[in-house]
Amino acid sequence: MFLQLKNISKQYHHRNGTAINALSNVSVTIEQGQFATISGPSGSGKSTLLFTMGGLLRPSSGNIIFNGQPLHDANDITLSEFRKNHVGYVMQNYCLVPYLTAEENVMIPLSLLQKDKAKQKETARELLATVGLSDRIEHYPKELSSGQQQRVAIARALSNNPSLILADEPTGNLDPSLAAEILSLLKRLNEEKGITIVMVTHSPEAASYGNIQIQLKDGKMADAHLSLAKEVLV
């Protein structure tokens, strides 16, 4: 089992003393090489679930096991290592560092993994070429279009050679044709490199890319069905 979540619940405690149940008793199992989508209404806990999978957020209760390693009670160093070594993130707002060029943004995770600056540069350029941005290496995020920024974010997500990519509405800020471009890029990475992808999305179209489709409503699993899973597994 690649990534297993068992009975995950998450409460956010608000300053005013109330607690919000963002997730209650969610159990999901995702196998290596799958493309999972999470959809549901706004506020249903999609992002919360994704962050919990990615070691960004500790669940209030329940277990998360990644390749046999428990993450639900791991300390900061273990979680940071997990994120650094295994996970790539693609966020709706790109999360690029504004004062770093495209190349430098891609180099951040690389700098954690290897010291050789020439190699970091080389890898960053290769990755930017993969997402079709060879001619935008020296550009700052604000000098790039939204679609290009998201592609830089994807290049950066790929830079640690992740086995898992977590995407939170990666196409939420993009117009339909750009969205399709990004989605097919993710699909390609999933199919060609075998990277497991979990993607939060609003759009039914995007959701249809998934061979596991998780539906959330009020923090609960509404439906999880394996539409295309068989094809992948066969």
Partner: protein
């Protein structure tokens, strides 16, 4: 790319903010550097003035009092002259201008005078006078008077401040105090017979308002011979560096000359020491205020910076930076700010001291190179101390909390 590159790029990204963040620390350090360099040089000037107040240590025979020395009775006790040699050959720091004396009351005509045998300066073996001045932070104490050559190079040429040492004195010359000259009605160049020996009056001393006015001065060895008190002294007057005195010079001297009475001329020494202490305290108060102000303003800058960069810090955390790595990043930034602040502060402060010192305090100020390291170290410490809380705050930023901010 490494952590340092990231921090550096971030710092340069908003130069305006960087400059305003640095201003406080640069100003603080330059004030410290300016005050320090001006005080070090003015302390030297003050020390010269203080030490010029005159001899402040008296070596007397065991059992004698200062009164004995002044009344100079026929049977007043004495001690051997080679005690001078013992002090000279010891390695005591802070001893200057040894002045061995033999005093006796004598009769010239119908009047009583005190005949004082003195050794002119060129006959007292000189020794390295003053230890080098310390320049480090609070340890700087008002220094001893620099040697005469240093003195001059700094421009202290005030006649009134020159020590009244007598450089040379012939074996049959004598100097006569102002009142004694009147009583004996002699003037420069006239002859004077004392105890059957003929002296030539080399100089009538100007009026000083002290016992010296009524005295006759002649060469020590002549006086010893004349009075048949060979190789004996009534006293050695010493100008001791006031810091050395507060550091226990007297007891060190007592070890060298156990069978003597060594006292300070209280008034002079306490003035000297009080003045030094006051200057040290003032510098110290300044230092504390500046440390506080500098630390708080750097902390303030860092705090604002952390808040402004929440999203990026969250991004770094998302990518796999641990809390301690974020903390390190912020402290690295504090160290860089501290280094820049220290170097700039030293340069600006020293320049300010060099320009303002001569104008405001009338003393020339030179760069003090050890102060450079003090400034840089101080600046880094202030900067890091001020940044500890913001850095901690930054490391606590949860990655998920910033992820959804646009």
């Amino acid at each position: 790319m490494n952590l340092f590159n990231l921090v550096w790029i971030e710092l340069l990204h908003r130069k305006g903010r960087l400059v305003s963040g640095l201003t406080a620390i640069v100003l603080g350090i330059s004030v410290i550097a300016a005050i320090r360099s001006v005080t070090v040089f003015s302390e030297r000037a003050v020390a010269v003035n203080l030490d010029n107040l005159g001899a402040n240590i008296m070596v007397l025979p065991q059992g004698a009092t200062t009164d004995d020395y002044y009344t100079a009775d026929i049977d007043a006790p004495t001690f051997p002259e080679d005690y001078v040699e013992r002090i000279v050959s010891s390695n005591l720091q802070g001893v200057d201008n040894l002045s061995p004396k033999l005093t006796r009351r004598i009769k010239v005509g119908k009047d009583n005078f005190v005949l004082t045998g003195i050794l002119p300066a060129n006959e007292v073996a000189s020794k390295p006078l003053w230890q080098t001045v310390g320049l480090m932070g609070a340890e700087v104490k008002a220094s001893c008077a620099p040697s005469n050559s240093k003195n001059q190079s700094l421009g202290y040429k005030d006649e009134r401040l020159q020590r009244k040492t007598i450089d040379s004195l012939g074996v049959s010359d004598c100097y006569i105090g102002f009142i004694a000259a009147q009583k004996l009605s002699v003037s420069e160049g006239s002859d004077l017979t004392i105890e059957n020996k003929k002296f030539k009056v080399a100089k009538v001393l100007p009026e000083t308002g002290t016992v010296d006015d009524g005295r006759i001065f002649a060469h020590l060895h002549t006086v010893q011979e004349l009075l048949d008190i060979d190789h004996q002294l009534s006293a050695i007057e010493i100008m001791g560096c006031c810091n050395a005195i507060s550091d226990g010079l007297l007891s060190k001297m007592r070890n060298i000359l156990p069978d003597t009475r060594i006292t300070t001329i209280g008034q002079i020494v306490s003035t000297q020491i009080q003045t030094n202490n006051m200057m040290n305290k003032l510098s110290f108060i300044f230092l504390i205020i500046i440390l506080l102000v500098g630390g708080i303003s750097i902390g303030n800058y860092m705090w604002a910076n952390v808040n402004e960069r929440r999203k990026e810090i969250g991004t770094y955390r998302m990518i796999g930076f641990s809390q301690s790595r974020i903390y390190t990043m912020l402290l690295m930034k504090a160290v860089i700010l501290g280094l820049i602040g220290g170097v700039l502060g030293y340069v600006i402060g020293t320049l300010a001291g060099m320009i303002l010192g001569p104008q405001l305090a009338g003393i020339s100020v030179q760069p003090i190179f050890t102060l450079f390291f003090v400034c840089v170290l101080l600046s880094v410490i202030i900067s890091v101390a001020g940044s500890l809380i913001p850095a901690h705050q930054a490391s606590r930023i949860e990655p998920y909390s910033t992820m959804q901010e646009i």
